[in-house]
């Protein structure tokens, strides 16, 4: 399931050698385009939609979209990371908004 990088939000992780999405991608798919200085997904069809890139992007520049083969246009799933919890917002194609918050780490 493809991750799309919003070019106005991506800052290429300020030109460090490897942007965070490239560091974490489980399939070696996210990478930096040296000409634009922004990240992109090498092969949208190869993504397994683990959303590690979406979660780690400090600018919130990555949007996970579902292939049209599976679902229709306009739905959104957005993670907001806390240090020990996560909040997901889901918007369906009819505009209905759902939110889910839960703890992901127990502190000692």
């Amino acid at each position: 399931m493809p991750p799309y990088v919003v070019k106005d939000k991506c800052d290429g992780c300020k030109g460090k050698e490897e942007p965070l999405c490239e560091q974490i991608c489980i399939g070696d798919l996210m990478t930096l385009n040296p000409d634009t200085g922004k990240a992109y997904c090498r092969s949208l069809r190869d993504c397994w939609d683990c959303m590690s890139c979406t979660k780690i992007c400090p600018k919130g520049a990555i949007e996970q979209r579902i292939p049209y083969q599976l679902g229709y246009h306009g739905a959104k799933l957005i993670p907001m990371m806390g240090t020990d919890s996560i909040t997901w917002t889901c918007v369906d194609i009819n505009g209905k908004v759902e939110r889910f918050s839960f703890r992901t780490r127990n502190k000692k």
Binding site: E18, I24, I26, G71, K76, F102, R103, T104, R105
Partner: protein, 610 residues
């Protein structure tokens, strides 16, 4: 990062590392190997070779919503093994492995909670059960937590290094080779003991929703686990077992995601287009809802092939709170399933959720495919161990069991390593491997552009060679059509399997036509090479088992019944002199008494716990 593509082998730097313990694959079980090995001997030099990045790599990338193996109150290691046995129709399975695993299972699972993974609890503060041995967790951070724990022991972690082959000194495995996906180096790791924990093999078969746009990797399993660990062992002459016992699962349709969450967690029953309860109606004699897993895998496909599809799990009885909890479960394992439902405007409380069979996978965490190992998890080659989904003979490990496998393999290696020196490195072997690894890349760097590039096409179409994607797609359709893929409702026969083997052989002869134009491409090349080796073994095993012991997982239309003479392990081993795959049988040994097809009910709480 712009990479410099080398034009000759000399340009490629070699990095030689000497270590005590090499772990190939830094996933769930690989990390547990490292942790336990360091706990047992802090001075051990441990190296992890990981194709991606240890923080998120492997099947746990997006998280996990449940631990499916935990021995709760009223259960014992024996009851879970008996249940596991019944789930695979009575076996065969390695009961010795299963019992050794079950004995340490709980402490492995509990260590996850100790490290910070939130486990759902019931009113009494015990782990909340969602199934007989399933407990619910909020595992979105499961892999990062395991990775952090691993890192705290300071093993040498080689992120972005893809392992390619095992190194051998005679029969003994003395390490492995690999290449750096970012630095382009050739890695030679000498190790006193090597653990293969690369997970299962996905993408041998075509996935149901594979198309020409963006859903190629729409599968249940992590598609970057291609079975390299199995392939390396196959090529090195290790013995494998039950490679015909493919994991073909019922999954939510199209999305190809987990369904146990719904069916077990929320007691949603499988129904067909007419609303009939499938398992009760057609498989009541096999246990209905508690029928073996392969029955549940096959059930929806049976309905579809007989014209009673679509098939669903009926969620219409769920309350809004339960729907929310259901979605939270998915958000912890395959979050985009929630996006999938949203993209169809689907409310589980109003419409039941579609299910379908998945493409077949080889995954020793669910079924019993994998390396033939002893109780120390050592394979048939000295110095080689298998952990997690790579270790064969024991089905139904899941996350908790694979963690325990890692611990057991670690103990096995520590035992083996003590007093052991390194093997002798054969420089010819090393040089040959370097050539094998990098020749597709060198080919790609020196090919001449022969053709014009058609509009909108991949620039690689300029070159007169074979791209790894082309070969992968060909293999996947081949296996789907001729080796019992989901497109054929998992069915195959002798002639189809021979056809598959013939074409696999044709492709293996054409490996030298594969070319890569960068390091990422080179990964894809080796992915397809490894898949070919695994697919070949799978087809051979399917051919050898002339019965249908686990229909769905392994259905022979020419041998539709169970053959009692084949109540044994079907194993294979490559003869390194002839290059031929030798098939052999090993007997099943029953350790736990009783009816193999029955899972005794949980022992009442008043009884003693083992």
């Amino acid at each position: 990062m712009t990479q410099k593509i080398p034009k000759s082998l000399n340009e490629i730097l070699t990095e030689v590392i000497e270590t005590d313990l090499l772990i190939i694959g830094g996933g769930n079980s690989g990390c547990f190997v490292a942790i336990e090995a360091k706990e047992k001997n802090p001075n051990l030099d441990v190296t992890i070779m990981e194709k991606a990045h240890i923080d998120r790599s492997g099947a746990l990338a997006a998280g996990m919503d449940a631990i499916n193996t935990y021995i709760g109150e009223g259960e014992t290691p024996e009851t879970i093994v008996a249940w596991s046995r019944a789930q695979v129709g009575g076996g065969p399975l390695r009961e010795d492995l299963a019992l050794s695993n079950a004995k340490i299972l709980n402490q492995c699972v509990e260590s996850l909670e100790k490290w910070g993974v939130p486990f759902n609890k019931d009113e009494k503060g015990r782990y909340k059960k969602r199934g007989r041995f399933d407990v619910s967790i909020r595992g979105e951070q499961l892999k990062p937590i395991i990775a952090e724990k691993t890192k705290s022991y300071q093993p040498r972690i080689l992120n972005r290094v893809a392992a390619t082959n095992l190194l051998k000194d005679g029969d003994r495995v003395i390490g492995a080779t690999g290449f750096g996906i970012r630095d382009g180096k050739f890695y030679v790791v000498k190790a006193k003991a090597t653990v293969v924990s690369t997970g299962g093999a996905a993408g041998l078969y075509r996935s149901a929703t594979n198309d020409g746009t963006t859903s190629h990797h729409q599968m249940w399993m992590n598609p970057f686990n291609v079975g390299s660990g199995y392939a390396m062992g196959i090529r090195a002459g290790a013995e494998f077992t039950l490679m015909e016992q493919r994991w073909c699962a019922t999954r939510v349709k199209d999305f190809c995601g987990p369904v146990d969450t719904i069916s077990v967690g929320y007691k949603a029953k499988m129904i067909n287009a007419k609303g009939e309860l499938i398992l009760q109606t057609r498989y009541g004699h096999l246990g209905g809802d508690t029928a073996p897993r392969y029955i549940r895998a096959n059930a929806p496909m049976g309905e579809w092939s007989e014209g009673r599809g679509p098939t669903f799990v009926d969620t219409r009885h769920l309350s809004p709170d339960q729907v929310k909890d259901l979605k939270i479960d998915y958000l912890n394992e395959r979050p985009t399933y929630v996006l999938f439902l949203a993209a169809r405007g689907q409310d589980p409380a109003k419409e039941p959720l579609e299910i379908y069979g998945s493409d077949p996978y080889i995954v020793g965490g669910h079924t019993a495919s994998g390396y033939w190992v002893d109780v120390d998890r050592m394979a048939t080659l000295p110095g080689l161990f298998a952990a997690g989904e790579c270790a064969g003979g024991m089905p139904n490990k899941f996350v908790g069991g694979c963690a325990a496998e890692g611990v057991l393999a670690a103990r096995g290696t520590v035992k083996y390593i003590s007093g052991m020196g390194h093997g002798n490195l054969d420089q010819n072997q090393v040089a040959a491997e370097k050539e094998r690894i990098f020749s597709p890349l060198l080919r790609g760097a020196t090919m001449e552009a022969k053709y014009t590039v058609p509009a909108g096409q991949d620039p690689r179409s300029q070159y007169d060679g074979v791209t790894p994607e082309e070969m992968e797609e060909r293999l996947q359709r081949l296996m789907d059509e001729y080796a019992g893929g989901v497109g054929q409702f998992f069915k195959c026969n002798e002639e189809q399997l021979d056809y598959a083997l013939k074409h696999i052989s044709l492709m293996k002869n054409q490996i030298n036509k594969l070319f890569a134009t960068g390091l990422h491409d080179l990964v894809l090349v080796h992915d397809v090479i490894d898949r070919l080796d695994v697919a070949e073994v799978v087809a051979m095993h399917l051919k050898e088992r002339k019965e249908s012991r686990w229909p769905g997982w392994q259905t022979r239309t020419d041998y539709p019944e169970v053959n009692p003479k084949l109540d044994c392990f079907i194993n294979s081993r490559k003869n390194l002199k002839t290059g031929e795959l030798e098939m052999l049988k090993r007997p099943y040994e029953q350790v736990l008494p009783g009816d193999r097809t029955k899972a005794p009910s949980p022992i009442p709480l008043s009884a003693e716990k083992a």
